[in-house]
């Protein structure tokens, strides 16, 4: 068995050449390539040095080599951070792969039976031209169901991702089955079994998030922040101050279309910056720039996604500002119940669950409603699936997050791909599997569903490819396994708005009240109109600006898939 490793570095901790990768251990036995950041590196280093380890660099990469030499595969339990790495054991001729619990960093693998390849992007595997581009029906169907490609699938049959929170051995007999080392549902189930008084929410949350922010500031370069007018990024900015960062540059996007409306984030973000004494950079983005950048966006998109445009521009702005690292509030909604799904899913289950349990009723209702109210089917197609899907958590989640419903797929992709894709993907089983063991409360269940699906497959993937396209590391302190452990006992007690309110109060100088009460908008861009215009440019149809956001997303998803196919000369993955 022979092994070749390559690496392209974005240097953030230890900027010197000595920290370049692949990095070998002192005795040359272990060689590592690593993508990510180990935030508890200082503590690990201190422990390892006490244990006799000798460090040649100040890079967290080297800590991985020492940890592996001492603890083998068990080392992953000691890591706090985002990581995807491979360690080659020269003596035992075997490779060890690991990926962080949330799946912040991607790790794709391709095995043809003779050669095992891995990379941090799908396109890196394809670039060698030895990996088949044969389409994976489960990936294609998954994209149309969710708007992103659900792991472990990709658009290509031969390429899969190592699942989040898993390790894998590869030796002379080939790759072994990936083994899990962490489970979001289990953490939440354990937390529910050891509840703490509600009164502790604010203090626990403050301590946990401050600890996470402090850990995420580890860098030998400046750390900036993406700032919206929402609670998550505002509170993180305040906590960066509490963690001791003096100079902070915060980046906000502004759009002419939103000027003077409630969707314009710049004025409120400016107030937050003023509140915390940060330097505010407002980056204006126009529709023309969107069109100019669209080819580059589609080319950089590693796997198709209906989102990512907003992250693209804020990352671009960060790069223009000379930043290599930026903190993002991504994950706050998943952790603290910020999405409508936290109230919708339990409600749907309660209202429609009993009816949905009647065999055949859901299917019957969909067919009948589709016939007698065809307008409803066109305008709100997912409504037809309420009785069919809301009987289970997985079904209700699919209904909430689904782009197209399974019954609609045949309208946009080949029937055979739909059949085979659904058979291989098993979407409901796959979603349900993430709820084992049962997290024990509605809030915790939705937290797991949003974190293990929407956030993992879409938000984190988008953050990765847009970040990498701009040589920017996006750090997500609210997506932190240590923080999840700390908050797990409290998550079942969260009610609508209480989590976010507690987060707003977490900085020693709480967020201004008008930020807290403002309806959540996140980092919005006028994508609806732009997407419509982009689609219409391609199809030469009249603009349909009155369409619901969900319908625009559907049309956009097809445009993205076809646009990616053109940008990357992809095979038979086009939508009809």
């Amino acid at each position: 068995m022979r092994c070749g490793l390559g690496h392209r570095r974005l240097s953030i901790v230890d900027l010197s050449e000595r920290a370049s990768q692949p990095m070998a251990s002192d005795d040359g036995r272990f060689v590592v390539v690593f993508n990510g950041e180990i935030y508890n590196y200082p503590q690990l280093r201190a422990e390892l040095e006490t244990d006799g380890a000798h460090f040649r660099t100040t890079s967290d990469t080297e800590a991985l080599l020492h940890l592996y030499a001492r603890h083998g595969a068990e080392m992953v339990h000691r890591l706090r951070g985002m990581f995807a790495f491979a360690i080659w054991d020269v003596r035992q001729r075997r490779l060890f792969l690991a990926r962080d619990p949330y799946g912040i960093k991607p790790l794709y693998i391709a095995n043809d039976g003779w050669t095992f390849r891995f990379a941090s992007q799908v396109k890196a595997l394809l670039a060698g031209e030895h990996v088949s581009r044969d389409p994976e029906p489960a990936g294609i169907v998954g994209f149309h169901l969710f708007g992103s490609v659900p792991e472990p699938f990709t658009l290509y049959r031969e390429i899969r991702s190592l699942p989040a929170g898993h390790t894998q051995w590869i030796d002379a007999t080939g790759p072994r089955e990936p083994k899990p080392f962490s489970n979001l549902a289990e953490v939440l189930a354990r937390g529910a079994a050891n509840p703490v008084p509600k009164a502790e929410l604010c203090e626990r949350l403050r301590a946990g998030v401050l600890d996470s922010v402090r850990a995420h500031l580890l860098a030998d370069v400046e750390v900036g922040i993406f700032l919206s007018a929402g609670v998550d990024s505002g509170a993180l900015l305040g906590l960066m101050r509490d963690a001791g960062q003096r100079e902070i540059r915060a980046i906000t996007l502004a759009f002419a279309e939103f000027q003077g409306t409630s969707e314009d984030e710049a004025p409120l973000a400016a107030r937050v910056c003023e509140h915390y004494g940060a330097r505010h950079i407002v980056r204006a983005v126009s529709e023309q720039e969107f069109f100019d950048d669209l080819p580059a966006i589609l080319e950089a998109m590693d796997q198709p996604s209906i989102d990512g445009v907003n992250s693209w521009f804020v990352s671009k702005a960060a790069k223009e500002a000379g930043l290599k690292v930026a903190i993002s509030g991504l994950g706050g909604d998943e952790l603290l119940g910020g999405y409508p799904s936290f109230s919708d899913l339990p409600r749907w289950r309660q209202w429609f669950g009993p009816l949905a349990a009647i065999p055949g009723l859901g299917l019957f209702a969909r067919k009948v409603l589709g016939r007698i109210v065809p307008g409803l089917a066109r305008a709100r197609p997912k409504v037809l699936g309420v009785l069919e899907h809301s009987g289970t958590w997985a079904g209700a989640y699919l209904l909430r997050r689904g782009l197209f419903m399974p019954s609609e797929l045949h309208e946009v992709i080949d029937v055979e791909i739909v059949r085979e894709g659904l058979r291989r993907l098993k979407p409901l089983q796959r979603i349900n599997a993430t709820l084992v063991p049962d997290p024990s409360s509605d809030g915790a269940r939705v937290c797991v569903l949003e974190s293990a699906h929407y956030m993992r497959n879409q938000l984190l993937r988008d953050a990765d490819w847009v970040g990498m396209a701009h040589s920017l590391e996006i750090r997500v302190p609210l997506v932190d396994f240590t923080l999840l452990h700390a908050l797990a006992p409290l998550i079942p007690t969260l009610r609508e708005g209480t989590g976010k309110a507690a987060l707003a109060n977490a900085p020693s100088k709480p967020l201004p009240n008008n930020i807290v009460v403002r309806a959540k908008t996140g980092f919005n861009v006028p994508t609806g109109n732009w997407m419509n215009a982009a689609i219409d440019r391609g199809s030469h149809q009249a603009s349909r600006t009155t369409e619901a956001k969900g319908l625009v997303s559907r049309r956009w998803s097809l445009a993205v898939l076809n646009g990616m196919a053109s940008a990357n000369v992809e095979p038979e993955v086009r939508a009809s």
Partner: protein, 362 residues
């Protein structure tokens, strides 16, 4: 320490059987017996036309040609003894093997070869294969096609390439050439069956290339070994292109003649479009004769992506034959050694041992 597992092998044929699949099963089960991983190996074949002589500790039950009789015998056999592992040698038998594995709470190992596993099988067979703990494929191509229709974790699908008999080795072909009266000719050789239902082996493509090869200065003789009902078509083709005096059909040959033909040939050429692997390539190369095939399916594996033999597209075939005949025959001993190192019985035994060990350890 875990006790050694007992295996029940559900196979079409193995010891006392004929053909490539029987040979593979013998190789596989023999390697397993040698490894001493299993406490017992019970083989249940459907066919065994020749006297079976399995090595110890393999026990082969009497052949049961009928489907029902075979199934009853397999179930009886399984119920009467301890079974920890079920080996299924052919996808047609997968549902029965999966049933037995389920009844006995045993692990299931499925073997796939070539064209039998390429098209998506009927639903029951597919479900049975998808329930397997391990699927062994003889080539990357077969593995890729299995994964195209089976919803199974790719890490459970391994490639264990074919091996070859020890009888093949480099030898002086002078005597054979003299006996055949072709001392001054360059000899092309194909060893493959001639099945009118599966005309993919490519003898017709070689016959059609002969005029081009002759036109480029090579006085060639084409030796065709193998039997089958497609022979009249090939003979007629040779006549039609005016090369019937250069094509010699040997039919099925005994092993002694076959080894002599392999060593004597200047170039083994089998432009097949449907090889699961192509053991004949290995037999040729380990006999010291360079091999040429198409860049299609399992041929790529047998020729090691061009490291051991030569792979070309169909349109390049005539010019590739000329190019290879223009060169002197490469060092037969070196070619045989390289082939043995990559596909020899020791390597095969190690592959089998490793594959089964990872299943037993899991």
């Amino acid at each position: 320490m875990k006790p050694s597992p007992a295996m029940l092998a559900i196979v079409t044929d193995a010891f006392g059987g004929r053909g490539g699949i029987a040979q593979y099963n013998r190789d596989f089960l023999g390697a397993l017996a040698e490894s001493r991983i299993m406490s017992s190996i019970t083989v249940l074949p459907r066919h065994a036309p020749d006297p079976p002589e399995p090595p110890k500790p393999i026990a082969q039950m009497p052949a049961r040609p009928g489907r029902v009789a075979y199934s009853v015998a397999a179930l009886r056999c399984a119920l009467a003894q301890s079974v920890d592992l079920v080996f299924c040698g052919h996808i047609f038998m997968a549902p029965l093997a999966a049933l037995i594995a389920r009844l006995k709470a045993a692990k299931l190992v499925m073997q796939t070869h070539g064209i039998e596993a390429w098209p998506c099988p009927p639903r029951l067979q597919r479900a049975a294969l998808e329930s397997a703990d391990l699927v062994l494929c003889v080539s990357r191509y077969t593995r890729a096609t299995v994964l195209s229709w089976a919803a199974i974790a790719p890490d459970r699908v391994l490639v264990v390439p074919n091996t070859f008999k020890e009888s093949f080795m480099p030898a002086d072909g002078g005597t054979t050439r003299a006996a055949l009266g072709i001392e001054n000719k360059r000899v092309l050789l194909t060893v493959a069956r001639m099945d009118s239902q599966q005309q993919y082996k490519g003898q017709d493509r070689v016959i059609s290339a002969i005029p081009y090869v002759v036109a480029h200065g090579h006085n060639v003789e084409y030796a065709v070994v193998g039997e089958g009902d497609d022979r009249p078509r090939l003979e007629s083709l040779a006549h039609k292109v005016g090369v019937s005096d250069r094509v010699r059909f040997f039919g099925a040959t005994e092993l002694r003649v076959l080894t002599a033909l392999y060593s004597m040939a200047d170039l083994f050429v089998m432009p097949s479009k449907g090889e699961g692997f192509g053991i004949a390539f290995l037999e040729a190369m380990v006999s010291g004769t360079p091999a040429l095939g198409l860049n299609i399916a399992g041929t790529r594996d047998a020729l090691a992506d061009g490291e051991l033999g030569t792979i070309v597209s169909e349109s390049e075939l005539p010019s590739a034959i000329v190019r290879l005949l223009n060169k002197p025959k490469p060092d037969p001993v070196a070619l045989a050694a390289a082939t043995r190192a990559r596909f020899g019985r020791e390597k095969f035994a190690a592959d089998v041992r490793n594959a089964m060990n990872r299943l037993i350890e899991a």
